[in-house]
């Protein structure tokens, strides 16, 4: 039954074998060493491939780094560094893996909470072998759900396959395979069975496809968008109106969630009671470039932020400098989501994914004077993101904006790297939550060299087709995109237009997978979670096209928003060297 995927995550062995469920890759998370030892033994007896860790953040790090490296997560509810339920949400959002909770306490309310947060099962300790032998059913079930959901109009909470690469999970296709244009539309080749049982062909929203989608959305104007219009603009012959409608629905939800997260972050980020009002996602394009926001924040423009010393400090960091102003009507709000998130422990589960990346950044920010954008999260709700991204890259060229905060550290601000920007988008790294430097996302490791990665646009240029275009665009944009920072991360990040969809999560460090190197799938290593490859690409497209930027504020912003969030994070992550993790 297991189809061995020929493509495996960069450096990651694919455990799939023909003897499923044997070889099931399980990640066990428990702070109790005794239990961890016992569970490991039990799982090995089931012929599973076991990885253990004692901290939630460590688990997230591993999950992000080894995208597609695990099939299921089993975690204790009571973890010292993070509430088990929160971990649960993150995993569901970012990796879309089935999660089983464990606890000594079998109180109904707790069990219910687990289920509500998305746990596919709740085991009481002491756990018996027979309970563990059956966990593969959850893996299978989830894959089947994903297969069905793709292309459907039904919205599944974790259905953002184009963001989370769920499809990839199902099919085993890795994002790396972005050379394969055929990825855009393929039949599901679920590892678990043949797709013939599925009613419709799954549409894999690859980065490229999603970029087209976002570009179309931006061109039309988010408020006026409709599936038919988008479809017409996209010019993808095999795509149906239903596919687009379904995708649009998810996209909207995604944006809404990001907005909420931003808001939450805003409040969280030291600005506790900041009112993030801009909840309006679609129309609030006005968000400033996150970078800008940061600066604003730094400058105390945004009241909320000031409360937070770190933020303030960060605010001053380069990132903020970019004022995106030009492009979109941004309200002073900043890309809050980015920042806020890091500290935010309250964001809705769904947001978690997004927020996390920011969070990560935040932590760093603190340490590293992180780019303001993060700080600003406290401020404005999302809309900001939307737009900012675009112009920013150019900043190097023309604008005075600066390199994204992240970059400040080590990353050369490479504004021109549009790709960077894109990639970041999803980097919601949970890692920023953890102050602990242990998590070193791979990109961190690369930091020293990574910086170089950010670097030259050229490197990324390859990744993005329109690179040159983008640069031009950037010039036109006044705003400073934090992109530079993103660039850095971008190497991790995906932004490869071609990259197949999948999680672009920017893993810490290795994120770049996306771009050219191994994008997509490959590696999301690192902590940043790219919301979607598509997004990143999209951003790029956006950048390239001056028209949308100027003309379609909303559209852009939407896209930007996506990217915005991530890039910052990713940058942050990169820069931050270990500070990313904030617990």
């Amino acid at each position: 039954m297991m189809a061995n995927s020929s493509k495996t995550s960069a450096g990651f062995s694919s455990p799939r074998s023909d003897t499923f469920p044997a070889g099931l890759r399980v990640l066990v998370v428990d702070d109790d060493v005794t239990w961890l030892k016992i569970l490991e033994k039990m799982l090995k007896k089931c012929s599973y491939e076991v990885t253990t860790c004692g901290l939630a953040r460590e688990a997230l790090y591993l999950l992000r780094e080894r995208k597609d490296g695990f099939d299921i997560v089993i975690s204790d509810v009571n973890m010292p560094d993070m509430d088990g339920f929160k971990l649960l949400e993150h995993v569901g959002l970012e990796m879309d893996l089935p999660v089983i909770m464990m606890s000594v306490d079998g109180e109904t309310s707790r069990v219910m909470k687990g289920v509500q947060h998305g746990a596919c099962d709740y085991l009481l300790k002491p756990i018996r072998m027979k309970e563990l032998r059956n966990i593969w059913q959850h893996v299978l079930r989830k894959k089947m759900q994903e297969a069905r959901d793709v292309g459907n109009n039904d919205l599944d909470q974790y259905d953002e396959v184009w963001m989370l690469g769920g499809a990839e999970l199902l099919s085993g296709k890795k994002r790396k395979d972005f050379e394969n244009k055929d990825d855009e539309k393929e039949m599901s080749d679920s590892r678990f069975g043949d797709p013939s049982s599925m009613k419709k062909a799954r549409v894999f929203w690859t980065v490229d496809l999603h970029q087209k989608f976002v570009k179309a959305v931006n061109q039309i104007g988010f408020d006026k968008v409709g599936p038919k219009k988008i479809l017409d603009l996209m010019g993808v012959p095999w795509l149906t109106r239903e596919n687009v409608a379904s995708h649009l629905q998810k996209y909207r939800l995604y944006l809404t969630r990001l907005q909420k997260e931003d808001e939450a972050k805003a409040s969280f980020c030291g600005i506790k009671h900041q009112d993030v009002s801009s909840k309006e996602t679609s129309s609030s394009l006005t968000l400033q470039n996150p970078v800008d926001v940061c600066t604003d924040v730094a400058n105390d423009k945004y009241g909320g932020v000031s409360g937070d010393k770190e933020i303030a400090q960060n605010g001053k960091s380069n990132i903020c400098e970019s004022k995106v102003k030009g492009v979109v009507s941004m309200p002073a709000a900043e890309p809050r989501s980015v920042v806020g998130d890091s500290f935010d422990s309250q964001t809705a589960g769904s947001k978690i994914g997004l927020n996390d990346s920011f969070r990560l950044v935040n932590t760093d920010v603190k340490n590293a004077k992180v780019p303001a954008p993060y700080c600003s999260t406290g401020e404005a709700p999302q809309p900001q993101y939307k737009q900012d991204f675009k112009p920013h890259f150019q900043s190097a060229n023309g604008s005075s904006h600066q390199p994204l905060p992240v970059v400040s550290h080590q990353i050369p601000v490479d504004r021109t790297q549009p790709t960077c920007f894109l990639n970041h988008v999803p980097s919601r790294e949970e890692s920023d939550r953890y102050p602990d430097t242990d998590n070193k996302p791979s990109y961190f490791k690369n930091k020293s060299e990574g910086v170089g990665k950010f670097s030259p646009i050229q490197s990324t240029a390859n990744l993005f087709q329109p690179v040159s275009h983008q640069q031009t665009n950037f010039h036109t944009l006044e705003q400073i995109m934090p992109s530079t920072t993103w660039c850095v991360t971008s190497h991790n990040v995906i932004s490869h237009p071609q990259s197949s969809q999948g999680n672009l999560t920017l893993g810490s460090g290795s994120i770049v997978a996306s771009l050219g190197e191994d994008m997509c799938g490959a590696s999301i290593q690192g902590e940043f979670f790219l919301a979607s490859n598509g997004l990143q690409n999209i951003d790029q497209f956006d950048y390239n096209d001056p028209q949308p930027i100027s003309g379609v504020p909303t559209c852009l912003y939407d896209t930007l928003r996506f990217d915005h969030e991530y890039p910052i994070d990713s940058l942050e992550g990169i820069v931050m060297d270990q500070g990313l993790f904030i617990v």
Partner: protein, 136 residues
Amino acid sequence: MENQKQRQAAYMRRSLLDQGYLDEQFIHLEELQDDTNPNFVEEVVKLFYTDSARFIRNIELALENGPYDFARLDNLMYQFKGSSSSIGARRVKGQCTQFQEYCNARNIEGCNNTFQGVKQEYATLKTKLETYFQMK
């Protein structure tokens, strides 16, 4: 000789179970033991005692002077209890539960007394298991 040792070990295990020192979890651990890891159970028990010592210590410190943080005491004991359940330390667990009840009732004296019981059961079990493992 071997047979006799095995019989003694089996007898002791039976009696530990019957007297409530251990529960089925311990049996499950023994079932997990195999040739790849012939001392698995002993390793687990040693790990438990090494790791759980910090709980004992922290609870002791928390019980020293007021103001008493019952929430913290409860949480520490909750973790310790979870850990104890891993090796099937039934009597220890029983004392833990009682301790938690006193925490909820904010009864410091009850907590103190029960905690003595926790430590006692914890120590007794350790000795018995050490003897048991020597037999095997």
